[in-house]
């Protein structure tokens, strides 16, 4: 009977990964088996050739977006599937399954209520539906915004003082990204608040990265923007830029108004609004910037960036 060749151990032998016993057996076999000895020499020579190749040098500079690197995500803890959560799921699968079913049922119920009418949630007046039966905004959700055509603006990077920033990007087109930022996450009732919202779209040169010597040019768009009070249907601001005008819900006597000197026109990415005086400290405001699917390019997904502001 022909002894089994040990070519499956070549790599381990080369890397010195064999146990002493395996090493002894391997060396004895290679000494006695001429085909294995030749094959092992050929094996090592192939590795040597690869390792002798010089490191190539990137032929041109890497072009980076003209905007600053993304600032750190908000410091507030978020609920996500961390390894800790996954460990819990593994240990308590039945509980997890029951929880998942409950979540699905709640979502279905909310969806059913939400689709009772054809109006998008964001388009509802601040006082809610006529019969008050609409579901409140969940604590964290993407709100449908009636927006079909974001408006071109004079773009700029978020101001340096805007430390709170979040963004969304199309994985297949990373240079295209939606940025939503604010100077701080705590706002005061009765005072004005400002947010930054901009979609940076690479133009044709950016579609072929590295094809030009300078940084890829981009154009800027103002996304659809809404500010809603968490756990209510109340919208403080809905900005569908398709008409380049504001769709401001009727004020309810709470003092909501567009701040004087606001940049709500399609001139730039900064949007200012006044926080109503009637909101209690701790109330959360959800700021949602949206780009509809298919807007940037055929097949591109919808992009949504969210920030949560808290009344201080």
């Amino acid at each position: 009977m022909t002894p089994r060749h040990l070519d499956d151990l070549f790599s381990a032998a080369y890397e010195d990964d064999l146990s002493p016993a395996e090493r002894t057996r391997f060396e004895a076999h290679v000494q006695a088996c001429e085909p294995c000895a030749a094959a092992y020499e050929e094996f090592k020579a192939g590795i040597a050739v690869l390792r002798e190749l010089p490191q190539a040098r990137m032929p041109h500079a890497v072009h980076l977006p003209s905007t600053s690197p993304v600032a750190e995500r908000r410091a507030r803890p978020t609920i996500g599937l961390s390894w800790f959560n996954l460990g819990l799921l593994r240990r308590f699968p039945a509980t997890a399954a029951a929880g998942a079913i409950a979540i699905v049922l709640v979502v279905l119920a909310l969806t059913h209520v939400g689709t009772g009418g054809n109006l998008s949630t964001a388009a509802l007046p601040a006082s809610g539906g006529a019969n008050g039966s609409t579901a409140p905004l969940p604590a964290h959700s993407s709100t449908e915004v009636s927006c079909t055509q974001p408006t071109a603006i004079i773009g700029s990077s978020p101001p340096v003082s805007f430390a709170q920033e979040t963004q969304a990007a199309d994985p297949t087109e990373p240079a295209l990204h939606l940025v939503l930022a604010a100077p701080r996450l705590v706002v005061a009732a009765g005072k004005s608040a400002v947010v930054y919202a901009q979609l940076s779209v690479p133009v044709s040169a950016a579609a072929n990265p590295g094809s030009v010597a300078s940084a890829p040019p981009t154009r800027a768009l103002l996304p659809c923007l809404s500010v809603g009070v968490a756990n209510t249907t109340r919208q403080l601001l809905v900005l569908p830029p398709s008409s380049a005008s504001l769709a401001i819900p009727q004020a309810t006597g709470s003092g909501f108004a567009v701040a004087p000197g606001t940049e709500l026109s399609a001139a730039g990415p900064l949007v200012t609004f006044v926080v109503p005086t009637g909101l209690a400290p701790g109330t959360e405001l959800h700021v949602i910037a949206t780009i509809p699917a298919g807007f940037a390019a055929f097949g591109s997904p919808a992009l949504t960036a969210e920030l949560t502001l808290t009344i201080g």
């Binding site: 192939g46 690869l50 010089p54 890497v62 977006p65 690197p69 600032a71 750190e72």
Partner: protein, 199 residues
């Protein structure tokens, strides 16, 4: 901050600065890793223009992922993205002949050692071409593993993270890849003894 200072910082410290909006810090990360990523992509794809595009795309993706990147693992992450981008390029492009020593504009990007004479330079060039051809005969998955180990010198752990396969699979796949490469090099300018036979 002076470029020299940034150069001395590790990836985690550079990322931390980049998260705070320091573009130069991210540029330092690019400078640190671009050549090794380019080398990997060039060995996998065989064409300098495609390899440069892969590196460009990899850093663009990193740029928008700065908030979630971690310095301790950014090297493996960059390699993983570059490999995925390389596979995307392979899927959407037909193999085209290209001189591996020239980029799309005809610039020499892999100069032979100037200390070599003309004949030795020609031989070195033949060896590079032979290795390139041999690598291209491997399945992309096998090509990637042998390039990561024997060209880029990644550890098993880094390879496991970059390829998203267990370390045991890395080792077994590496053994097969190296064996296939050795066979593919037989009789080529990169085979053992070729230089002596043609001296």
């Amino acid at each position: 901050m002076p470029a020299r200072t940034l150069k001395c910082m590790d990836d985690e410290a550079l990322l931390e600065r980049a998260r705070r909006g320091d573009r130069d810090a991210f540029a330092a990360i690019v400078t640190r890793h671009q050549d090794e990523l380019y080398t990997m992509a060039l060995r996998i794809l065989g064409t300098p223009a495609d390899a440069a595009d892969v590196v460009q795309e990899t850093f663009l993706r990193a740029y928008v992922r700065i908030p979630v990147l971690r310095g301790q693992t950014i090297r493996a992450w960059l390699f993983r993205v570059a490999i995925n981008c390389s596979h995307d390029v392979q899927r959407r492009t037909v193999r085209r002949p290209a001189d591996p020593l020239e980029d799309a504009e005809g610039n020499i990007v892999e100069l032979p050692d100037p200390a070599l004479g003309p004949e030795a330079s020609a031989l070195a060039r033949e060896r590079v071409a032979a290795v390139r051809e041999a690598l291209l005969t491997l399945h992309p998955d096998f090509r990637a593993v042998v390039v990561l180990r024997d060209v880029n010198d990644l550890s098993y752990e880094e390879m496991s993270a970059a390829l998203r396969i267990p370390i045991g699979t890395v080792k077994s796949r590496l053994n097969r890849s190296r064996s296939m490469l050795a066979k593919a090099l037989r009789g080529t300018a990169a085979a053992p003894g070729f230089a002596e036979e043609h001296a």
